[in-house]
């Protein structure tokens, strides 16, 4: 039982007991404990990874949404632009058409007026001719009766003519 000389008995028991303890604890304690710890670490890692993935997915989804929104906005702008252009075109066309129609109407009116005028003139001419003929006839008739009376008659007719 000396202090610095190891005793045989204790060496023997220490070796035997320690090996038994290592064996028992290794099989029935450390193995399940370390497995549980590893499982827990793994599940925490997994959860963290999942959270990270979900976050990334969210970000991606958000980016996609924004892209969709931007696309939609762009499309809307395009449609509006197109619509405006189309409306303008239609308006322009309508104006042109209206212009054309009114020009044509004016033209037609002018032509009609011209025609009417011509017709009226022709009528006037015809009437004048007829009247002249009538006057001439009456003149001739009166001339045959009385010179004086004839002259007065012509004057009278001319006076009437001027009024017309």
């Amino acid at each position: 039982m000396d202090l610095i000389t190891p005793g045989f008995g204790l060496i023997f028991w220490q070796a035997v007991v320690f090996l038994i303890v290592v064996f028992i604890l290794g099989k029935f304690a450390w193995k399940p404990i370390l497995k549980s710890l590893k499982d827990r670490e793994d599940s925490i890692d997994e959860a963290l990874n999942e959270a990270k993935n979900a976050k990334e997915e969210m970000a991606q989804l958000k980016a996609e949404n924004e892209k969709l929104l931007a696309d939609a906005r762009l499309e809307r702008d395009q449609i509006l632009k197109d619509a405006t252009a189309a409306a303008n075109k239609i308006r322009e066309e309508a104006r042109e058409e209206a212009g054309k129609i009114s020009a044509k109407m004016v033209e037609d009116a002018k032509t009609t007026i011209q025609n009417e005028k011509k017709a009226a003139l022709t009528e006037v001419k015809n009437q004048v001719a007829e009247l002249s003929l009538l006057v001439a006839e009456k003149l001739i008739k009166k001339n045959l009766e009385e010179d004086k009376a004839q002259k007065a008659l012509v004057d009278d007719f001319v006076k009437d003519l001027n009024v017309n």
């Binding site: 290592v22 604890l25 029935f28 450390w30 193995k31 370390l34 549980s36 710890l37």
Partner: protein
Amino acid sequence: MDISRRFRPNKSLKISFLSILIIVLTSNFTVFASGGDGEEFNPGEMIMHHVKDAHEWHFFDIGETQVTLPLPIILYSEKNGFVSFLSSKFHHGETSYKGYKLDHSGHIVAEDGHEFYDISITKNVAALFMGSILMIIIFLSVAKGYRKNEGRAPKGIQSFFEPIIVYVKDEIVKPNVGPKYQRYLPYLLTLFFFIWFGNLFGLLPGAANLTGNIAVTLVLAVFTLIITLVSANKNYWGHIFNPPGVPGPLKIIIIPVEIIGILSKPFSLMLRLFVAITAGHIVILSLIGLVFIFHSWQVGIVSTLIVTFINIIELLVASIQAYVFTLFSAMYIGMAIEEHH
């Protein structure tokens, strides 16, 4: 609420430490209270009696009666085969039994001088049994906690030991052994807790100085040596027998140095633990011994204060030595299995 919950384990730890201290102190006084009268007080003898192993478990004396637990003596010799009897048959070394007797230093000797092996259950062996059984009970119940609380937070004893297990695994073993650390974890975890428990129980009053016994530290160091040598790879042996970058003639010097290095590593493990724990016990016992040398209660007050302080330090030392032994074992194994780079 939150804070009080967090500190509760600390508080109970403190209380248990304090109660250990109180028991240590009071029991030490009862030990010496009777030693004072009658024969001359011999501090060296008293200290060695407490530090060394024995065939009987001596608790305290009441007057002239020694309160001891007799332990079984088991002897094997070619002449007599197995011989087994209780140590009380020796009557504290006064009588011989079955041809064996105790010499003055507590060794068993054969009266006719024949050779035999002494594998008695001494005080340290008994402490070893108790400590080991306690370890098995504790860690099996910790393991049971993991089965019961699967996928949930640890509870009770499980939550007390989990951080320590995780610390040993992640801070001592993993960084020092390297990527193949899993294979060495059971040994190193058992080593850590065996030393830690042994150190702490050694501080209990009347307990055996198990981890301060050189036979115990020798066996632990040899186990580390065996594991190191068995798992050592080519790279490790190459560094010893053909150190790279060393010129030929120098190898004559370097190779023996490297070979000594193999043995000096476990030797240092063995000595460090033995010395640290035994020295702590000797310091405490010496300070208490002062009271009986000076026969003075004033010295008693002072040495009680100092002993209390040193006991607290010893609690720290108990953890540090378990940490250091495990750390160096992990490092030696790590060096032996390190791949060439």
